[in-house]
């Protein structure tokens, strides 16, 4: 019981520290001067390093989703609904969530390990004693870059997933490219696209925030760096599911999904 209460206390303390860290991000975000070149460099790194992985995952998801769903729809004679169903499920839920989870693994752990390593080798301390602001240079730029780049990666992942789905439809049902995508876009409504786009910004913010938080306050030693990278992925994944639930709940109120 003591151990449980200690863990619970640690958990809530960490939530509090994470909230303060987020508060500091917003405070520093609007302070001049802004680190434009570092921000652009981080955008390039986040986008460039993840695009192949996001594309590959999206493509496989599109293939698998169509292959798995097709027989069930065929039993009900509803195969013609395939593009609409795949389109809605990918754009609303599967695309953003899978891409965000992949990026949590790729980007979140990378940020956690990089900042953690900088912490244990005193590079962050060196920035601080040189009278510059390491939080602004390292944290603000990274969180902002992931927040801005994740929606772009999600749109790219969605497009590739739909293309994967089209390939199966074309092979199994001889559906043309134009017909497939006409049906997809006919089925999609404003209420599908807007909430998915908004939540993708929150997903990006969560990945950047947790990765930076874990790395920035990394404990000493190489074990600390490993733990920072690992816990960045675990915490981000949990946070993504919580955010997704909230997003669906709020979207349901506004758009009656």
């Amino acid at each position: 019981m003591n151990s449980f209460s200690f863990k619970l206390k640690t958990f809530f303390l960490e939530i509090g520290e994470l909230s303060l860290f987020a508060g500091r991000f917003f405070k520093e975000l609007f302070k001049r001067p802004f680190e434009y070149s570092e921000f652009l460099r981080q955008c390039y790194l986040v986008g460039n390093k993840s695009i192949v992985l996001v594309g590959l995952t999206g493509f496989i998801i599109g293939l698998v989703l169509t292959l798995q769903t097709r027989p069930t729809l065929a039993e009900f004679g509803a195969v013609s609904w395939m593009p609409s169903m795949v389109g809605i499920s990918i754009v609303r839920e599967i695309g953003p969530m899978i891409t965000a989870l992949v990026c949590a693994g790729k980007i979140g752990s990378g940020i956690g390990a990089e900042l953690g390593s900088m912490r244990v080798t005193e590079q962050i301390d060196a920035m601080e004693v040189s009278g510059t602001n390491p939080f602004k240079f390292l944290v603000v730029t990274r969180i902002l870059a992931v927040t801005m780049m994740l929606p772009i990666l999600i749109i790219f992942g969605d497009a590739i997933a739909l293309y994967g789905s089209y390939i199966i439809e074309n092979l199994k049902g001889n559906v043309s490219f134009q017909l497939f995508f006409n049906q997809v876009f006919d089925a999609l409504e404003f209420g599908d696209i807007l909430p998915a786009t908004i939540k993708s910004f929150f997903f990006g913010f969560a990945i950047g925030l947790v990765g930076c938080f874990k790395g920035y306050f990394c404990k000493k030693g190489t074990a600390g760096v490993g733990k920072a990278a690992n816990s960045a992925v675990v915490y981000t994944s949990i946070l993504l599911f919580i955010l997704d639930f909230i997003a669906v709940f709020v979207a349901d109120i506004f758009y009656e999904l």
Partner: protein, 260 residues
């Protein structure tokens, strides 16, 4: 604390020189581990002060308290007349530009080239220099001071340990600080490279007239570069004096340092 320690603790240095850095009654604990138990010291303008102590005696904690990287539990740190604990972030950043800090492990930014490493402190402090000076000139001058001008476009991973330490020293120098804090400047280096670093430290002292605090347990380094020494034992300044004076001491705790 014993009576003899109290005597050493309150020891004063008589000189007409201006005090540039002063620490009073510094305490720092980590849980039950009391690392600093009322450390006092003064650094005079142009002086090289060596602080020696065993591993884990709190030397690095003390030096980090000096620049605000750690907050002491009790005590005061005054640098050039300013109490660093009372400064806001902007004022502290300005003051930090006057203090160079050479880290034990060099702490070069490994994702940046040598040039970018040296340019980094200039991003916020270029206003310290005449407008006719540009970043490139300052970078090259700092690297020439440590004899590594040709490494400007290399990455830190392409440099040896000794070269990394020299580049870190160049980065420390680039803002032309009034005080330089050296945290174990020769640790992890072979004796020849360590000697090169010691010579560089002496040259810098002569060229720029900086005041220095050297944290070390390298007796050779202490003997060559130090004008004065403080022995940090049990979290206090156990004994202060000149190298020769301390090295001849009969106190067993002091003798233990010089046996090596």
């Amino acid at each position: 604390m014993t009576e003899s320690q109290k005597t050493y603790h309150s020891e004063e240095v008589k000189t007409d020189k201006q005090v540039i850095l002063e620490i009073n009654d510094l305490h720092k604990s980590f849980g039950d581990n009391h690392v600093l138990n009322g450390f006092n010291m003064k650094l005079f303008k142009g002086e090289s002060l060596v602080i020696m102590g065993k591993s884990g005696s709190g030397k690095s904690v003390m030096i980090k308290c000096m620049v605000g990287l750690m907050t002491p539990d009790k005590g005061r740190v005054n640098i050039m007349g300013k109490s660093i604990l009372d400064l806001g972030q902007a004022e502290l950043d300005q003051l930090r530009a006057d203090i160079g800090f050479l880290f034990q492990g060099s702490a070069l930014y490994d994702s940046m080239t040598v040039r970018e490493n040296l340019e980094f402190p200039l991003r916020r402090h270029m206003d310290r220099f005449d407008s006719d000076l540009n970043t490139e000139e300052l970078v090259i001058e700092a690297l020439e001071n440590v004899g590594l001008a040709d490494t400007v476009d290399l990455m830190p991973s392409e440099l040896s340990g000794g070269m990394q330490r020299r580049v870190a020293l160049a980065r420390t120098l680039i803002l032309r600080p009034k005080i330089i804090l050296y945290d174990e400047p020769t640790s992890g280096l072979d004796p020849i490279t360590a000697k090169e670093i010691i010579i560089l430290m002496q040259n810098i002292q002569e060229k720029y007239g900086t005041s220095s605090i050297i944290i070390t347990h390298d007796v050779d380094c202490a003997r060559v570069v130090g004008d004065r020494m403080i022995l940090l034992i049990d979290g206090i300044n156990y004994k202060a004096g000149h190298f020769k004076e301390l090295s001849l001491s009969e106190d067993p705790k002091i003798k233990a340092f010089f046996k090596q």
